[in-house]
């Protein structure tokens, strides 16, 4: 029994590194220095912050990494008045915040480095720093959720797995970035969301409804906009999904809600979408739905699915 439980845990841990994104576990707003700073000034930062390396930033952009080793080298070669720029390593391997943890794990293994700067894929800006410790902490935190779930399951009261949500709500807010016009990757966000909801042990019918509505919303973003993002909040009462994009916006929201109304071109219809069923489908799957749109600005779709539905005997 125990061996099986351990095995299950291990697989789960392996699964998690394929599902969790770097942005979720990295240290945000890391300490950084400017390239023109003197190496001598590093001493204080290294000591007080108890870190062994940090990113070098110029106008918000990463230009290099400077480490304790660089500092010691300067110390021994009497170069403490030199600028950081002169001694930092500029050949830096970076990760993106929306990459999965597995990418980071591979990089740690391959390079043997202790930390990687994390960038925003779109803007290129530094958003955090990732150490092996960050990964372990992040996975452990998530597994704790799993553990609670396993324990509660024994009491055959699935719905109560969400009791602790209020204690740490952020744990149950998922956010997904949706890339516009990338038809092949479309649906990834909804697919990952579905996986996560499954892992939370929610009733299959609830999961199916949330997954279908999110998938339709994601397809709308991919087909009609340049992309956006989706946040999913899970409270003990309901799952609320918010989808945002930057335009072009919907001219007539009421018309768009009608079954069969569509502005899709033949190209889209031949891809299997655009028959005007997307938004009505979302409405059908959700308990509440709100669609707000401003031409040229963007659209916000919010829908929620109650966890205690009519068909639920809890």
């Amino acid at each position: 029994m125990l061996a099986m439980a351990q095995k299950e845990e291990l697989t789960k841990q392996q699964e998690l590194i394929y599902e969790m994104r770097i942005g979720l576990v990295m240290t945000k707003n890391p300490v950084s220095v400017a390239p023109e700073m003197q190496m001598s000034k590093l001493r204080e930062i290294l000591q007080t912050k108890r870190i062994s390396g940090m990113p070098v930033l110029e106008n918000g952009f990463l230009v290099g990494m400077v480490s304790l080793e660089d500092f010691i080298e300067c110390l021994t070669s009497d170069a403490m008045n030199d600028s950081v720029a002169k001694h930092m390593s500029t050949d830096v391997i970076t990760l993106f915040e929306n990459d999965f943890l597995v990418t980071a794990v591979r990089e740690f293994e391959r390079t043997g480095f202790g930390r990687f700067p994390v960038l925003n894929r779109e803007t290129g800006e530094l958003v955090g720093i990732l150490t092996k410790g960050d990964i372990l902490r992040g996975v452990a935190k998530k597994l704790e959720v799993e553990f609670h779930r396993a324990e509660k399951k024994r009491y055959k009261n699935k719905m109560h797995i969400l009791d602790h949500v209020q204690a740490d709500e952020t744990r149950f807010t998922f956010q997904y970035h949706i890339v516009g016009n990338d038809f092949n990757r479309a649906g990834e966000a909804a697919g990952n969301l579905k996986k996560n909801l499954k892992r939370l042990g929610l009733p299959p019918e609830i999961i199916r409804r949330v997954a279908i509505a999110s998938y339709e919303a994601e397809m709308n973003l991919v087909i009609y906009t340049s992309g956006g993002y989706m946040t999913v909040r899970i409270s003990p009462e309901m799952i609320t999904v918010n989808v945002f994009d930057n335009g072009p916006g919907i001219p007539d929201v009421n018309q768009a809600m009608q079954e069969g109304y569509s502005t899709a071109e033949n190209r889209i219809r031949d891809l299997g979408f655009g028959a005007g069923m997307g938004l009505p489908n979302i409405k059908k799957c959700s308990d509440e739905m709100l669609l707000r749109s401003k031409i040229g600005k963007g659209t916000n779709l919010r829908f929620s699915v109650k966890l205690y539905g009519k068909n639920d005997d809890n």
């Binding site: 038809f183 092949n184 397809m219 219809r269 069923m277 489908n281």
Partner: protein
């Protein structure tokens, strides 16, 4: 109806490594518009489709479709097959067109996806 029977009736090729031919399929659906699949398909259904892109697999995953069969013997991109492996969805291909594929399965007793599950 077991998957193996469907494979026999439609003279299917299995496109991925899925091997549980005892898999029980209770309903059939023939559709090329994914929103309609999402809206109406039952979760223990076989989806017959002429659409051949990755969204078929994503839709099947999202809507709990049990198995997918491409009709008219279309060439299937390796990306699609790879995704079906990840999602663990059995992937079949038949040379028959949609009409005949639906017709044969219906005749063999597979039900559609209408609300009452009849006819």
């Amino acid at each position: 109806m077991q998957l193996r029977e469907i494979i026999k009736i439609l003279e299917c090729k299995i496109l991925n490594s899925f091997s549980n031919l005892d898999l029980e399929i209770a309903h059939g659906s023939g559709c090329d518009q994914m929103s309609d699949v999402l809206a109406y398909v039952k979760s223990d259904a076989l989806l017959l489709t002429g659409l051949t892109n990755t969204q078929v697999i994503r839709t099947a995953d999202i809507a709990d479709v049990k198995a997918v069969c491409f009709v008219r013997g279309k060439t299937i991109d390796s990306k699609i097959i790879q995704l079906s492996e990840e999602m663990k969805i059995p992937l079949l291909s038949t040379k028959l067109p949609m009409f005949e594929a639906c017709g044969r399965l219906y005749k063999a007793g597979l039900k559609g996806c209408e609300e009452n599950g009849i006819g």
